[in-house]
């Protein structure tokens, strides 16, 4: 599926355990590799964990599962805190 990159700006980012992460602020592209490197996510959900005062995080594109009306990323236990206890 081909999309203009500006369509991604402002999309909400959720993990596959339905935890809200933030909004897409920018996209980092790897010029040599000719691919998307990561998504710069801002407006972070303060509940997801220890953010140490960061205003944004970069989500590597390899943990992105799907992009449609929202961005769905893999839930990584220990990085994202969810409402349910991680086993």
């Amino acid at each position: 599926m081909r999309t203009q990159i500006t369509e991604l700006f402002g999309l909400h980012v959720y993990t596959d355990r339905a935890v809200y992460v933030g909004n897409v602020d920018d996209v980092v592209i790897d010029v040599d590799g000719k691919k998307i490197d990561s998504l710069a996510v801002g407006n972070l959900n303060p509940e997801i964990g220890d953010l140490k005062g960061y205003k944004g995080i970069r989500i590597p594109f390899r943990i992105v599962k799907s992009i449609g009306d929202i961005v769905l990323i893999r839930h990584i236990a220990g990085v994202f805190r969810s409402s349910q206890k991680d086993e």
Binding site: R2, V27, V28
Partner: protein, 85 residues
């Protein structure tokens, strides 16, 4: 090594490796399934004739394979420009 924020690309000029001004970048086409950057969408400069290139209305598609480097300008290879992907 060379990673760049997309918002930093806005309004950057596209130039060929033989020094010809091609136009201004408008947008980037990506394949979300693979994460590949497919094309740059360029608004051709008035001095540039986009005949023979892939165009859509007043926009021109530049395959990302043609991109040599991105610093102050986006430098593209003249010979790879016309290649359709």
């Amino acid at each position: 090594m060379s990673k760049i924020f997309c918002r930093a690309l806005a309004k950057k000029k596209v130039m060929s490796n033989d020094g010809m001004l091609i136009g201004t970048i408008k947008n980037i086409m990506v394949d979300l399934g693979t994460g590949q950057v497919v094309d740059l969408i360029v608004k051709p400069d008035e001095s540039f004739k986009p005949d023979g290139y892939r165009t859509d209305g007043d926009k021109m598609f530049v395959p990302f394979e043609a991109v040599k480097d991105i610093k102050d300008y986006i430098v593209v290879d003249r010979y790879l420009l016309k290649k359709s992907s």
